[in-house]
Amino acid sequence: MNRIIKFIILDILKNKIVLAYTILLAAFSWSAFSLEDGSTKGVLTILNIILLIVPLVSILFATIYIYNSSEFIELLLSQPIHRNKIWLSLFIGLSISLLSAFLIAAGIPLILFAESLVGFMMIVVGCLISTVFIAIAFLSSILSRDKAKGIGISILLWLYFALLFDGLVLFLLFQFSDYPIEKMMVGITASSPIDLARILILLHLNVSAMMGYSGAIFKDFFGSNLGLFIAFMLLICWILFPFLLSLKIFNKKDL
């Protein structure tokens, strides 16, 4: 399996897109920290990167790469290799490549310029978010044989999690603003990995505002060790669930 992962990583490295992604991300991160006066604004820029660009690139690149690897998968399938191994190798290979890109481009400035706890939190959450969207890409690309359709599904999923979900939350909040819905909202947050990531980072970043009226409830939940643990577990579930589902489908798929 290690050999397959190695081949995949080498193949991705030859692909200039990941390199471009790394350079772009690095340019954003470094300029954010060097242009803005305070490190807080730099951190906020990287927060936006983590919540928007990282998911988008992760899901799109992974989807396209999986479709482009169909020949490779076919070739491997006629070899004495278990299907699980092929799919898992592809996943690990993609994850390692995209995570290293993120770590090099955003991780280093975070370590250098951000407050250590916040920086650490953002690196961990950024890695998790990237992996979550790779996992989702696996699911969306196994659902459709058609490349265009698969990429379409991926973009829609990204749009949903990055934009529509929050709009929906906002709508719900206004609809039910007369009821004590804070606790329910904590639950709803768990159904979007991007929101989970955002709140995890915000609680370490912008505590003052989060502490306001209902912030206390979020803080009580996500701020406690148990809440932190649960939030991380949820993010890991967001990796495992789509990936394992895609693996199950892949194992039964005719190629």
Binding site: I181, D195, L202, N206, S214
Partner: protein
């Protein structure tokens, strides 16, 4: 003339007759009460280092009560420790602890009833129900005392310095912590609160009601349950104070409720959930303050009118200002907003484009607090940006016409 001569005679005899009574194990007086019994107006009573459990000590003569090396007066949780019922009393250099606890008659470590010119200086008050309690008194000075209590629930603990229906008080340089309210003023006029540090109190660092013509200057209020509350008052001057780290649900650096004709300047609001919360207040001048790293720099409710907010620095707040309505009757001018993105072509340090400090999201959160959940999400950024370009929900006249390009040096 005769009256004057008589009074001079009386006064001089007063000085000549004044004597000093020593109290301690090695002296004639073993107990303070005995000495007080024998003392006359103008006497000095010096208490040696020791542990005195004498129940309630009532001072009803104009005496100087001085502690040497901090003798301990202990109320055994059963008595009010020191009761002052005379003018011209000075209490200095004691450790006063363990007063009784009662809800009805509010016992204190030191309680002053209907007296004038009482000075309480350089004492350490510990674990009393109320620390220093002043009622219906005038011209009293509370200075350089250290007042602390063990944190309990609000019902089980009184206030650090509690002043009621008094006039011309001076509360200076005290260090107050662990009480319900650090300093409590109700119906106190013409008084000053200066250089005190009030922190880690359960409720308010300073609780201030119906107290006109007062000033509080250069105090530090930190880590209090609900910050500082100033209510139902006219003509207060608040200058050079620091309001810091007042966290939590309905917690404010400074809560202003029904205040009018007051002056709030050169204060620093740092790291509070809300820097200032203003409600039902009129004709305030709020200038040259620093609002930094607060959740909300300033929450100004629509019930406020004719207030001027000028030359303040708003730096690194999550929201600089917010309001609950569309009616804006206050004036913002020449403030520095770090979120301002305009330009200054003629380099006069005033931005050429007016600034709308009210963001759409702050309006949303005001109407629906749980919306804080989606703070900093992409959709919120989109909404805010579109609102900046085409204001539709935020009041159009909520505006700073002369936003400064650089922070004011304060």
């Amino acid at each position: 003339m005769r009256v004057l001569l008589f009074s001079i005679f009386l006064f001089s005899s007063f000085i000549i007759d004044a004597k000093t009574l020593l109290i301690g194990n090695n002296y004639f007086y073993k107990k303070i009460k005995l000495a007080l019994n024998d003392a006359v107006n103008g006497d000095t009573i010096i208490v040696e280092k020791g542990f005195y459990k004498e129940g309630n000590i009532v001072i009803d003569k104009s005496v100087f009560l001085l502690g040497k090396d901090f003798p301990v007066l202990d109320g055994e949780k059963k008595f009010e420790v020191l009761t002052v019922k005379a003018n011209y009393v000075t209490i200095k250099g004691f450790i006063i602890q363990h007063s009784s606890y009662a809800v009805l008659d509010d016992p204190g470590g030191i309680k002053i009833y209907n007296s004038s010119y009482v000075t309480i200086q350089n004492n350490q008050l510990f674990d009393n129900f109320f620390g220093i309690y002043i009622q219906e008194s005038k011209h009293c000075i509370v200075k350089d005392n250290k007042i602390s209590a063990l944190i309990k629930t609000e019902q089980e603990i009184g206030n650090g310095v509690h002043c009621w229906k008094s006039d011309s008080l001076q509360i200076i340089g005290n260090n107050i912590s662990g009480n319900r309210d650090g300093i409590y003023f109700e119906f106190v006029t013409n008084s000053i609160i200066w250089r005190n540090i009030s922190c880690n109190n359960l409720r308010y660092g300073l609780h201030f009601m119906f107290s006109h013509n007062d000033s509080y200057i250069t105090n530090i209020f930190k880590n209090n349950g609900a910050g500082v509350a100033v209510m139902f008052t006219k003509k207060v001057t608040m200058m050079n104070n620091t309001f810091e780290n007042n966290w939590g649900d309905s917690s404010y650096g400074l809560l202003l409720k029904d205040i009018s004709d007051s002056y709030i300047a050169t204060n620093k609001f740092y790291n509070n959930t809300s820097g200032i919360y203003i409600e039902g207040s009129n004709r305030l001048l709020i200038e040259k303050n620093i609002f930094e790293a607060n959740g909300w720099g300033m929450k100004i409710q629509a019930s406020c009118m004719d207030n001027y907010i000028e030359k303040n620095n708003f730096i690194g707040n999550t929201f600089d200002v917010s309001t609950n309505g569309t009616l804006v009757l206050n004036t913002f001018n020449e403030n520095y907003w770090d979120k301002y993105e305009g330009y200054d072509l003629n380099k006069d340090n005033v931005g050429d484009v007016p600034y709308h400090p009210l963001s759409l999201f702050s309006v949303i959160v005001e109407n629906c607090p749980p919306a804080m959940l989606i703070y900093r999400s992409f959709i919120v950024t989109l909404l805010d940006k579109s609102e900046k370009i085409l204001p539709s929900l935020t009041p159009e006249n909520f505006i700073d016409n002369k936003p400064l390009m650089r922070a004011i040096k304060l």
